[in-house]
């Protein structure tokens, strides 16, 4: 099938009498043709078109279809047991995560998949006597941050058996591994009216790889997430107390 041709125009019964030897007439004719052509090119438009879809056939991709992918963002808090020498301020120690997740539907109830994400996690260290991590110095403020990329595998149990094309109420169980590509120590001190800030990195006492279980409980775009770090942040040879291992967050997925 062809769409309408837009450059065709049949001039019939023209009332113009053209003297082809007249140069002025040449110009008039040229401009007239140019104007006419440009008018025809722009005038006859297909303003609306639609190919008919077969709505009895379901797509493969969708929140409750065979495959589904989406991005998400999580904000949460670093929690868990504070260990002497490496205590953190709860509430101000948190993390951000940005990721992509893929899901395969196995049945109405069960599905599973994988995800990749980037994470920034910071621990505001309590400055008190007996502090060990990363050293015994007491500062006005001190933050240890980790930049990581990670991957996850998860298994999903869905509780909303009768639902349309949406995620519904679900619970995820799985595991997660991270590679910490950067550890940053930030310190802030004040002497008199002068504030000193320092950023330090390149330490060799951290273990770049972490892993642990994950848990999510969600409804459509929203989820409560929990990650637990089984592995240690620091090498045993460094003799440093570990930072809290639990991360609780709120996740918002970006899809309709």
């Amino acid at each position: 099938m062809q769409l309408p041709k837009r450059s065709m125009y049949i001039l019939e019964d023209s009332a113009l009498i053209i003297n082809f030897k007249d140069k002025k007439m040449h110009k008039v004719l040229f401009i007239s043709i140019l104007l006419l052509t440009s008018f025809c090119l722009s005038a006859q438009d297909v303003v609306f078109e639609n190919e008919v879809k077969d709505y009895s056939q379901l797509d493969e991709n969708g929140p409750n279809l065979k495959k589904f992918s989406h991005t998400y963002v999580t904000y949460g808090l670093n929690l868990g047991e504070n260990i002497a020498g490496a205590k953190i301020h709860y509430g101000s120690s948190g993390f951000y995560e940005f990721g992509f997740r893929h899901k395969r539907k196995f049945s109405k109830v069960f599905s599973g998949g994988y995800g990749v994400s980037g994470r920034f996690s910071s621990f505001k260290l309590v400055q008190e006597a007996g502090k060990i991590l990363p050293d015994a110095s007491i500062n006005k403020k001190e933050t240890l941050s980790f930049y990581s990329i990670g991957g996850e595998l998860y298994f999903r149990i869905n509780f909303s058996k009768k639902r349309g094309n949406l995620i519904g109420l679900y619970m995820d169980l799985g595991g997660r591994a991270d590679y910490n590509y950067h550890m940053l120590l930030q310190r802030k001190n004040k002497v008199g009216s002068v504030t000193f800030k320092s950023n330090s990195y390149g330490y060799d006492f951290d273990i770049p790889y972490n892993f642990g279980p994950l848990f999510r409980f969600g409804y459509n775009q929203f989820a409560l997430t929990a990650n637990y770090r089984y592995s240690d942040f620091f090498k045993s040879s460094a003799n440093l107390p570990e930072l809290p291992r639990l991360m609780l967050g709120i996740e918002i997925s970006t899809f309709d």
């Binding site: 006859q44 709505y55 009895s56 379901l58 094309n165």
Partner: protein, 527 residues
Amino acid sequence: MQTIMRKIILLLVFFSILLNLSAQQKYRVYFKDKAGVEFNPEAYFDQKAIDRRIKHDVSLYDPSDFPLNQNYVGQVREIADASGFESRWFNFVLVDVSNQKQLDDLRKLDCVAKIEQSIKVEILYTAETEFSDEYYDEELMKNQTERFGGSLLKEKELDGTGVRIAIFDGGFPEVNTHPSFTHIINQNRLVATWDFIKNKENVFYGNNHGRMTFACVGGFWKENNIGLATGAEYMLAKTEIGTEPFAEEEYWMAAAEWADKNGADIINSSLGYGHHRYFTNDMDGKTSLVVKAAHMAARKGILVVNSAGNEATDSWETIITPADGDSVLAVGGIDPDLDYHISFSSYGPTADKRMKPNVSAFGHVVTADKKGLKEVDGTSFSSPLTAGFAACILQHNPGFTNMDLFYELEKSGHLYPYFDYAHGYGVPQASYFLDADKKPIQQTFEFIEEDDKLIVRAILENYNNKNATNSNHLLYYNMEGEDGILESYYVVEVSQEVVLEFDRTEMDATPKTINVHFRGFSSHYKF
């Protein structure tokens, strides 16, 4: 530390399972029969409902109108936590159940035929473009009724007088005080209201959506019509929770039974249920609970008018139920400035390939705001404009059955007999019903076979001034397959004689029909 983690995970798992299992769920418990019940139609029905049944040759003793066997209902109530709406039409009672044992016990009852879980679904929301109370486009307000031929209706003094319209929505705040409805309130033409969520009469709260749709049926503002049926009687049903996006189809069903009992001639429902509860292949006019209720309402002689949906730009794209019902007049939206499909209006056909929407109306309108007026978008407003028009036509043709009215509204569409899955048959026209000296339709284009080409040539001197709108330069065409189902459709802005050109050798390979409509004239060519 690991012990703490284990405890937390176990706690979360426990809570999640507990949340799911212990949450009360609603179930529809269907009974096998209505044995031994008594029914007095004169006592149950409003006189208008009886008149409608007589007109439509529907028995006054149709078993679907009989009450439920209260002995059966009592047995169910003893087991369930609570019971709610009783559907006479479908012979079920809605109950709250909180555990599997209750369900098992209900299934063991001899009187129970089946049990279905009731699922929460989402209301159709409309995108709103709000303006200040003082500003609205007067020309738009005039055109939203004039597109149907509103002045012709006015000339014939047709305003829906004597017709009863039920409107289902999420609430009707300020309707009892807003100047747009004064003529209805003062003349006691608001004959019934019911809030199906709270089971009480007051419906003047909740979602603004109801106020806006109601105004598009019969609203009036400073000597100007917002909708066309300013003389009709009204029933308002609050069937949606309003402040939440979730609702239940049973409320729609309950309202339909209520509308029938109280003598409604027309139901306008600017509500629809889509991806939260269903898949596109469920839009077949048979699957959803709400479409079954809409069919039953049609069987009782009520014209059900429903918005097609605002899903065209979403992944869903197609109509939402109950607009998929074959006896439901599904109304799509057109752009008031362009006079063809407005971007968000859902596309047909149904999953079983029936034409939808049936007709169209403006999808951008002026309607009642909290105090004044405002402009809004949505097929939620195309539907009530059409329902108001239908009421005027029913007033003019009181002998029409609901399905006569349905088919005549389709035939009056400005594109009829041409149709496509975005516009249906187009905007219904008052001139079809009222114009006594109709001029013969002149041919406005021709098919010319030229070598291997088929040319569609416009005959620009012939002008069927059927609709004095800017649509006179629009040519509609579609490609129809051998099975009668459209494959594609187009709207072309015409400015030259040769409008379309097709390669016949290419088209002959896969036989098709091209249907064309231009300036009131439709024709087709078979390859």
